[in-house]
Symmetry: C2
Subunit: 464 residues, 2 copies
């Protein structure tokens, strides 16, 4: 087996073109569009892009690719952040955008069956009238297939879990094109190996996710939002720890460091105190939400939090969360024209204050600007590093910063990525985190399910 699969031969491309007709493209613009995600990684274009509409078509495509040893790269909305959709070995990109049907909604069971190209917002739009929603919100309007493949999470994960917790079963096209079913609609099962969770987070390297059964929730009767400023990051983290320990089921609890609040004030014309801020959301019945807010207010006060006000009015909630939603744009606006490199790590929550504080000190020492936002209930935080790509010295300092950030998180019993995934960007950190034995096991799994290394080669674990 070689490190990466071989490029598609003309014969392979011809066969795929004959199968897919107009839904097969080798056009420059289409290939360029599928050569990159939203990260800083150098684009690498596939040789062709294919737009299937059914599981069976995906199976036929994979069958042809397997026969020719052609790389296959699945593509959702291209909003990943670690180079997951790049095509370093060429091959064909399977864009799943036209597999966007919601096949079944089971309101009583709180689940639905969908095609992988359905996006988060389209799904929630569709479900709203039935009083249901899908809770995972990674920010981007990503496809559910892509969110599954990268084990996405986001602001709601503290209450509703990540994609890992919300996928019940998958249909995956793998190997020589066979379609495998990984589970049923039963809410739990102990029937055999957990194939579902092997494919969740595998970034398309083990097969193509072609149908999903996912869990839904009832839209809460009442949603309340609140903001609370703290003197220190440690105070904000301590309040979060206590809230979770005492079982307050916060739906969102987001940390913005002082730098990020400054950026938001400037961009969104707000006048928040420029100190660490917690943004919160509570879900439940009216009485439950009132109780949660009251309990959190007491904790916040204990931990040096400032004024705590909460609101259930939709327009006020929207205003309060606007700062958080615009965080990326507010960072972009700090230095127009410069690049913003997004990266994430995750640590046990007891170490979060240390990790954020040391990271802030490192930024100062390296003369870098990177506001920080955190899904603080999960110990997960993001740096949005502003870098001028033409400034070699700044780029070098930026790389040093990111390297040290990962090492810091790992030294604190944490992980090199809480939700962005490994892709191309974080392969070098995986062995330090889990040891060579785990990497060997991952490689053995990859070889077992994809002996030709055709599925998204060059991602997660480099093959020998």
């Amino acid at each position: 087996m070689t490190a990466v699969a071989q490029r598609a031969t003309p014969a392979a491309l011809e066969e795929l073109a004959a199968l897919m007709g107009e839904r097969f493209s080798t056009g420059e613009a289409v290939r360029e569009q599928h050569s990159h995600d939203e990260s800083w990684h150098e684009p690498e274009a596939p040789q062709a892009v294919i737009f299937p509409e059914t599981v069976e078509e995906v199976s036929e495509i994979v069958t042809i690719c397997a026969r020719h040893g052609t790389p296959v790269i699945p593509f959702g909305t291209g909003t990943s952040l670690e180079g997951q959709v790049n095509a370093p070995a060429g091959g064909v990109c399977i864009d799943l955008r036209d597999m966007n049907k919601i096949l079944e909604v089971h309101a009583e069971d709180l689940d639905c069956v969908i095609q992988p190209g359905v996006t988060r917002k389209a799904l929630n739009e569709y479900l709203r009238d039935q009083g249901l929603f899908f809770p995972i919100d990674p920010g981007a309007d990503a496809s559910l297939g892509g969110m599954t493949a990268t084990r996405a999470s986001g602001t709601n994960a503290v209450r509703y879990g990540t994609m890992r917790d919300n996928v019940l079963a998958l249909k995956v096209v793998r190997g020589d094109g066979e379609i495998i079913t990984t589970g049923t609609r039963a809410k739990k099962s102990s029937a055999g190996y957990d194939l579902t969770h092997l494919f969740v987070g595998a970034e398309g390297t083990l097969g193509i996710i072609s149908e999903l059964t996912i869990r839904l929730r009832g839209i809460p009767e009442t949603i309340a939002a609140a903001a609370c400023s703290f003197e220190t990051v440690r105070g904000a983290c301590q309040a979060t720890i206590l809230a979770i320990q005492t079982g307050i089921p916060v739906a969102r609890i987001e940390l913005l460091n002082a730098e990020q609040v400054r950026a938001c004030n400037s961009y969104s014309k707000l006048s928040l105190p420029e100190t660490p801020l917690l943004l919160l959301e509570f879900h439940g019945s009216e009485a439950e939400v009132a109780e949660q807010s009251k309990n959190f207010a007491e904790i916040a006060k204990e931990c040096g939090g400032g004024d705590f006000s909460w609101t259930t009015k939709p327009e006020d909630r929207t205003k309060l969360w606007q700062a958080r939603h615009d965080a990326y744009w507010s960072v972009k606006a700090l230095r127009p024209g410069a690049g913003v490199v997004a990266t994430d790590v995750c640590v046990p929550i007891s170490r979060l204050a240390d990790c954020v504080t040391e990271t802030e000190e490192d930024l100062k020492r390296l003369r870098l600007l990177s506001p920080i936002v955190g899904h603080v209930g999960d110990g997960n935080f993001h740096c949005s590093l502003i870098c001028d790509v033409d400034d070699k010295d700044e780029m070098a300092r930026g790389e040093e910063f990111m390297h040290r950030l990962v090492q810091r998180a790992q030294a604190m019993d944490g992980t090199c990525t809480g939700e962005h995934g490994i892709g191309q960007g974080k392969q070098k950190y995986l062995e330090a985190e889990l040891g060579p034995e785990a990497i060997d096991a991952m490689r053995a799994l990859k070889k077992a399910l994809d002996p030709q290394n055709i599925f998204n080669p060059g991602k997660i674990v480099p093959m020998k």
Copy 2:
């Protein structure tokens, strides 16, 4: 590769004996004790039983076994229900009872690191003073290693999830004795393949779970219990569906069918109405629990529920749950001397009433007695089939019943087991549930991680 690994050679046993000294036994009584779990499966004794105390010792044992191709069967408390600890190919049993240390408790992070032999009750005893508990309760005082290996769940799963949702990371001894680390203490991660969840539920067939990092919860301020009788199983199921849809975070919601209530009344000297019964538990602050109870009472009334009373007094709660805890013994007492075969299936909750009702009809038709209890919030239910093992005709009808039960659940988009696992007993149903492609994938994974087929051979997926 053969269907089962070969029996241990005298040379292998000698080497293991030399390594372990008095903690290696080939005594008849010890081997008999490790030849079976609590199921109806015929006992099959290992050739020797070993009692390691550290991960390193497990690694040394596996290294020797791998060199000799000797089967290795992990053993927790022997409370599994599908023949998971039997030794059909001989080999050595690794009893993990002496690996019972709680290594670290991280109260702020709500996690702890433990050895696999720690039992559920010992852990909760240890944690109580810190206001923490581990929520998964499969009934038996099982070991956490065994609960992980069988993906156990139980009465609390409706709120707190199963073992799948509560294991953060594992140390597993596999292959040639190497120790692999599958994750960190970070609450979430998207760093590579989900090795953790591949080993959760693998029933020891991929390696020996030798250390666990698991999630904890704060002991709720208030716990309230309630009971509510319904005229029909359908009414009880409908109330459960509505409670979950509206987001009432019930901690336990258990169904007892009329037959089971009759058995409990007789055994526990109660006078519950002999119709389907829901037993409930609510966790939270005082106000939250009051709100949950009030909301559930309204739903129960809508669904034809009878009197609904709830209590937060520990002694009253205990009394109310006694009937549920004694369910197994109450069934045993129905026909003293006869055997009780426990089996479980799980279906989408919308199909639960149909599945239970059709199962009751089938029991009547086949002239069999089997009270039913259900973790109704998960769509998971158990039959406790009373059978005289010497009555061939009754045993044949019992087998027909169990076969039809699984087929019924699978036809309703369900699974052949919600929490007991596959072991030896349910292998024949796995392919019907997931298809041959999934079985092929499972077999490929088994071959990749255990090429010699030494880890608990003959369980989950028969090897060719």
